[in-house]
């Protein structure tokens, strides 16, 4: 029967049309992380693992202490009470390194793209900002984040998403740098403009090629992040939990499909018109459900 095939065709066209449009037109320019935005350079070779940054973060953000002995809390993962964390990667007694984990403040952030209610946005100054007033708590950001960053207050009845905010209200607003960078006693955390930090990172690598891995993580990954890393020579970033990502992020595909399907609203409108046309041409007259039963009654 031609109608049946028509239905399938229409349905296939609706989805396929989206793909075609997506393939031919990348909807928007994706600038990625910009040089004039705030950024942070974490130098793993300098970090001594004192966790002063962790403590400062916790104190300044009023985060609860936890565990059997809250005075000596040693969290093992980023969570709603620990927005930054010093992790130790130890390969042997002579080969190990600390690494500071936190939100990467991506230039092309997945959380911003996927959020159902626009609760995330990349601010002009580079901060990936979260607005609990918009958030419904669906946790798609957790599902999507390539760096496992957003955490959620599962233990609260009125939970929010927690992640590093670059101390936007308590420090940046006053023209001061985030607390973690401020308290670091060995200069392992440097805060500044991204272009300047990238220059400095490469200068450090060039100056001490035997000390550093010759790569700045975050320069290009997933469109560039606003948190950059330097690692010791012979220690790959993969071991630190920083995978070798492409420059494009996976959400581009779903964004392109969304924009393709709704391009000028053409595919849904065409599908509607097509179905209406089939309905009028295939029957004598369209029947609404109530008509049927009334006529039968």
């Amino acid at each position: 029967m031609p109608d049946r095939r028509g239905f399938l065709k229409a349905a296939a066209l609706a989805a396929g049309g989206g793909y075609l449009a997506a393939g031919t037109a990348r909807a928007e320019e994706r600038p990625g992380a910009r040089g004039d935005q705030y950024a942070m350079l974490n130098d793993c070779t300098r970090c001594v693992g004192c966790r002063a940054c962790q403590t400062a973060c916790k104190r300044s953000h009023d985060l609860e202490k936890s565990g059997a002995d809250p005075l000596h809390e040693t969290p093992t993962d980023l969570n709603a009470r620990n927005l930054t964390l010093i992790e130790l990667y130890k390969e042997s007694d002579t080969k190990w390194s600390f690494v500071k984990k936190q939100c990467m403040h991506c230039g092309d952030a997945s959380c911003v793209s996927v959020c159902i209610a626009a609760a995330f946005r990349k601010r002009e100054d580079g901060v990936v900002d979260y607005d609990p007033g918009k958030c419904i708590g669906c946790r798609y950001c957790q599902y999507a984040c390539p760096f496992n960053v957003p955490t959620f207050e599962y233990e609260r009845a009125a939970p929010v998403i927690r992640k590093c905010d670059f101390c936007k209200d308590i420090r940046l607003a006053k023209g001061e740098q985030p607390w973690c960078a401020d308290v670091c006693p060995v200069g392992a955390i440097k805060f500044g403009k991204r272009s300047a930090l990238l220059r400095e990172a490469h200068a450090r690598i060039d100056g001490e090629p035997n000390r550093y891995a010759s790569y700045v993580y975050g320069e290009k990954e997933l469109g560039g992040t606003s948190v950059l890393y330097l690692a010791p020579k012979e220690m790959g970033f993969e071991k630190f939990g920083f995978p070798a990502y492409d420059e494009a992020t996976p959400f581009h595909l779903q964004e392109d499909i969304q924009h393709g399907i709704f391009k000028y609203w053409a595919p849904p409108v065409a599908l509607y018109a097509g179905l209406a046309l089939i309905a009028y041409s295939s029957g004598r007259r369209p029947h609404a459900p109530a008509d049927d039963s009334k006529e039968g009654a």
């Binding site: 109608d3 049946r4 239905f7 399938l8 349905a11 296939a12 989805a15 396929g16 793909y19 093992t76 993962d77 969570n79 996927v114 159902i116 209610a117 626009a118 609760a119 609990p132 918009k134 419904i136 708590g137 946790r139 798609y140 599902y143 496992n148 957003p150 955490t151 959620f152 207050e153 599962y154 233990e155 609260r156 009845a157 939970p159 929010v160 939990g241 995978p243 996976p250 959400f251 595909l253 779903q254 964004e255 499909i257 969304q258 924009h259 709704f262 599908l271 509607y272 179905l275 089939i278 295939s282 004598r284 369209p286 029947h287 609404a288 459900p289 109530a290 049927d292 039963s293 039968g296």
Partner: protein, 391 residues
Amino acid sequence: MNVKTVPMNRKLWTPWFTFGVCVIAAGLLVTLFRLIRGLGAVTNLSDGFPWGIWIAFDVVAGIALAAGGFTTAALVYVFNRGKYSPLVRPAVLTAMLGYLIATFSITMDVGRWWQVYNPALPANWQGNSPLFEVSLCVMTYSTILVLEFLPGVLEKWQQTGFLKSAAAKVSPILNRVLFFLIILGVVVSTLHQSSLGSVALVAAYRIHPLWWSPWLPLMFLVSAIAVGFPVVIVESWISARAFKHRVDVGLLSDLAKITPWILGFYILLKAYALMSAGKVGLLFGSWWGVVWIVENLLFAVIPFVMLLRPAVRGSLKGLLTASIMMIVGIVLNRLDTYILTYTPRPGFNYFPSVGELIITGMMVSLLFVGYKVLANTFPVLPSAVPAQGGK
């Protein structure tokens, strides 16, 4: 084309019905606990595994299984296959309950449920997010399904009760706009059924490559369309058993003729996606390959072969076997995509808690209890079919 539908007016409190009500009561207690103490107190969800069975089963699989509503409506009102009209009202009822239940599940799953309407506010519109599209479409389609179900309710109210005059006034207006709403319902369904696949695209690094594919949106759409009529077949059988009337095997058999066409397309699509991405080798050498093969045999290949054969289609047993396989298969597919093959953050894993299972049990019970109550009260099922008719 014309069907006389009547309220069933059967005894409500059968053992199964009582059991369902008990499960719902237990679920409501857990829901209350969840609202007071937060998600962590009731679920095994974590930062590493943010989405569990409430999303993968209650919402994603549930919405796929609710596709019986728009596929049947399209068949009867768009393609004017009038002989299937006895199936429309029960299919719309099932879909309506399915969507309302999915909406309830989402509301209980999101952490900040008191502002769950936020995505709909224009200031928060987020055209980049497939989940935003899903949320708007689900809200729209749930409303449309309620309106599609309303004529039956109005019919009853026009005869008795204090709403008599109001029902008489609303009824003609509704009948005039319903045709346009039905088509809108079909469009909105194709949009969000596919977008439920788009939602998972961002997890390219996490979902097993046998399930992750750039074609996920089309796969989700086609599989939902395919499972639409099988759900109607199983629903007809269950409701016939519950209300003790005869199943119109001839009608369901004709309906099942359509399914292999869609399944055939699905099989080609799956094969193409696997081969074009060079993933065929992944089928061999790991358990995931076995799971993938079982899933696709269950959902697609075996029912495809079965339903092509007139002998299978002609028997209730054959129809039910193929349909139930497809339902199990599509649930497995959604669970595979959203939970089972999902690689969590390091150090996390997930198995649903008792609380999650009780609430999921409540959602399933709500479907059956709700169906029985509504089909009992309002004219949903045809009067011609029951052995001794309604009361």
